[in-house]
């Protein structure tokens, strides 16, 4: 059915079954998108990890297809992002329809001058395949397929993990356990932790097809199209000429009936016309929930991605938030393990990423309420917005068919040093993600390529000012001249930003002050 060939990754008999057992700094449960990303980020900091997964292959179905810029920037550190961009579909244009008429077109990357596009559509199985391959080539990452977690015994300074394999059970002793095992997290269930949130009742049908005739090249979203007059339809192109068609079915649809190929084909035939030919790739009927754990840190057990928080698919905030989680976590966990930061630094993982999850849930819930209005007045405003949009440009901004995932703001983090200069007109302040920009002559490089593995001090200067003394351990970048970077950072000579390893801004100043930078790094690492 699928044009993708699922490779089965090799199961190896774990040495613990034969008596060998050593304490592991980090055990990661779940080899989806987040787990292997965390393992690679830890490996870059010299921390070995074991990744356990009950399965031995990649995501069944395309699932998370929309890989956002900030995720690509994370993966680029492991050298896999370019491959994803090349394989995936970069598209910037989209068109929104009401009934059978286009209402307006939009461009998602209005601003040039970034190494990576706003997003790339690539099926989750490819993302995982590239990450798995990279992990298997990384000596500090041990991938254990067909290793199912069946027991968790948390202790004061570690976790005992009971694992089931085809050859029997063994116990793994971990200093830290990170659960990246998805919305139905085994670890969360084994620890009997609640997962409060909101359940949505509308059913949606995903139909991935390989279209054998001409492909639409842009994202299309219809409200009340002639081929599905009661609800909305979303069309997304993926790699390998695969299209995702997402039909809103309403709350009363019968999933078994809707999933029948003849019923899907009938809708698709109306949609693509009598000439079109296609093959089915993957079909799924889904409802969704918005949930968030009260804490992401439970002693020595940490939760990330869908295991810790889950949103509706509108806006591509599931997989991308998971990558941002592990990006936030990796450097902190590495510092704690290396005893260069106190264990309390991990509290900021919880507070920062819970703030991010709240923002994602808010955005996702607003999109959901626009697409599936919950009461008659809500529907009246939604329909009014749609009918005004063609002639009144302001109304186009109100149409919410999913606000694309951008880096969330992590406000009021205890790791940040608040602005003391008051004359910032623009630029990413503390708690915001840094902005990429072309740097060097003729745009020969990208700012994100110059960032260090740890903290980076970015300072703007005139060509004739001497290079300042950057603090030990931090990567220094000095930018002179009038480039895009200067605009994006609202910079003048002397303007200095402190950028964390996860590419968030921790502090900024109007002049270079070595002592202030050292103090801000101390604060940002829990040593302040």
């Amino acid at each position: 059915m699928s044009s993708y060939t699922y490779r089965h990754y090799e199961y190896r008999r774990p040495p613990e079954l034969d008596g060998g057992s050593e304490r592991r700094p980090v055990v990661i449960v779940g080899a989806g998108m987040a787990g292997p990303t965390l393992a690679l980020a830890l490996a870059q900091r010299g921390v070995p990890s074991v990744v356990l997964d009950e399965d031995d292959t990649v995501s069944l179905g395309s699932r998370s297809i929309c890989q956002a810029k900030h995720s690509l920037e994370t993966w680029d550190r492991f050298g896999v992002a370019t491959r994803m961009v090349e394989k995936g579909i970069t598209w910037e244009q989209g068109e929104l329809y009401l009934h059978d008429k286009p209402v307006f077109r939009f461009n998602l990357q209005p601003e040039p001058g970034h190494k990576f596009p706003a997003f790339v559509n690539l099926q989750q199985y490819y993302v995982e395949e590239y990450l798995f391959e990279r992990c298997l080539a990384e000596p500090l990452v041990e991938m254990r397929f067909r290793n199912k977690v069946v027991g968790i015994t948390p202790g004061p300074d570690g976790v005992a993990v009971e694992v089931e394999t085809p050859d029997g059970r063994y116990s793994l002793d971990a200093e830290w356990l990170v659960a990246c095992d998805g919305v139905r997290s085994t670890v969360r269930h084994l620890m009997d932790l609640p997962y409060p949130g909101e359940v949505f009742h509308d059913r949606f049908l995903i139909s991935d097809i390989r279209l054998l005739s001409e492909l639409p090249k842009e994202r299309r979203f219809w409200f009340y199209p002639p081929f599905h007059p009661t609800n909305s339809v979303l069309l997304h192109r993926q790699a390998d000429d695969v299209l995702r068609v997402d039909f809103q079915l309403g709350p009363d649809a019968d999933p078994e009936e809707e999933k029948k190929p003849e019923n899907i084909d009938r809708r698709l035939r109306q949609m693509f016309g009598p000439e079109a030919r296609w093959e089915h790739e993957w079909t799924s009927v889904y409802t969704f929930t918005c949930r968030m754990m009260e804490r992401f840190v439970h002693g020595r057990v940490l939760f990330a991605g869908d295991a810790a928080h889950v949103v509706s698919p509108f806006g591509a905030r599931g997989g991308n938030a998971a990558i941002a989680d592990v990006d936030n976590l990796a450097w902190k966990l590495a510092m704690v393990l290396g005893k260069t930061a106190p264990v309390s630094l991990l509290d900021s993982y919880c507070s920062e990423r819970r703030a991010a999850a709240r923002e994602n849930i808010l955005n996702s819930t607003r999109s959901t309420d626009f697409i599936t209005p919950k009461f008659p007045a809500s529907r009246a405003f939604r329909d009014a917005t749609l009918s005004l949009a063609r002639d009144f440009p302001f109304a186009r901004a109100l149409i919410n068919s999913g606000r694309l995932s951008v880096p969330t703001v992590q406000p009021d983090s205890p790791l940040d040093t608040a602005d003391t200069d008051t004359d910032w007109a623009r630029g990413p302040g503390p708690g915001r993600a840094m902005l990429d920009a072309p740097i060097g002559r003729e745009g020969e490089g990208w700012l994100i390529d110059r960032l260090g593995a740890d903290f980076t001090v970015l300072t703007f200067a005139d060509f004739d000012t001497p290079v300042p003394d950057f603090p030990a351990g931090a990567t220094g970048i000095r930018i002179a001249g009038d480039g895009l970077a200067r605009q994006r950072y609202d910079a003048r000579p002397g303007t200095t930003y402190l950028i964390r390893p996860d590419r968030y801004v921790a502090a900024r100043w109007r002049r270079f002050d070595g002592a202030a930078i050292v103090a801000a790094i101390g604060r940002a690492t829990g040593n302040g």
């Binding site: 008659p376 007045a377 009246a380 405003f381 329909d383 009014a384 917005t385 009918s387 005004l388 009144f392 302001f394 109304a395 109100l398």
Partner: protein, 72 residues
């Protein structure tokens, strides 16, 4: 916070010909069913909200509209 401020919304008359404007609004709803009235009002509110542009004014108006309903 914008949603707790008061005083942004004008409470005294701002219309030169209040009877004409009032009747124009009512007349525009004539012959519409209740459902059509709701659709019409939604359009009107969105058009005016964008024109006003001031979030503090809009939030205060939303609150005032709701509070006066509870008093009735």
């Amino acid at each position: 916070m914008a949603d707790t401020s008061t005083g942004a919304l004008r409470r005294t008359l701002n219309l030169a010909r209040p009877d004409d404007v009032y009747n124009a609004i009512v007349d525009a709803h004539r012959d519409l069913s209740d459902e059509q009235c709701r659709a019409f009002d939604a359009r009107l509110i969105l058009l005016l909200a964008n024109h006003v542009g001031d979030e503090a004014v809009l939030r205060e108006a939303l609150r005032a509209a709701r509070e006066t309903m509870e008093e009735a």
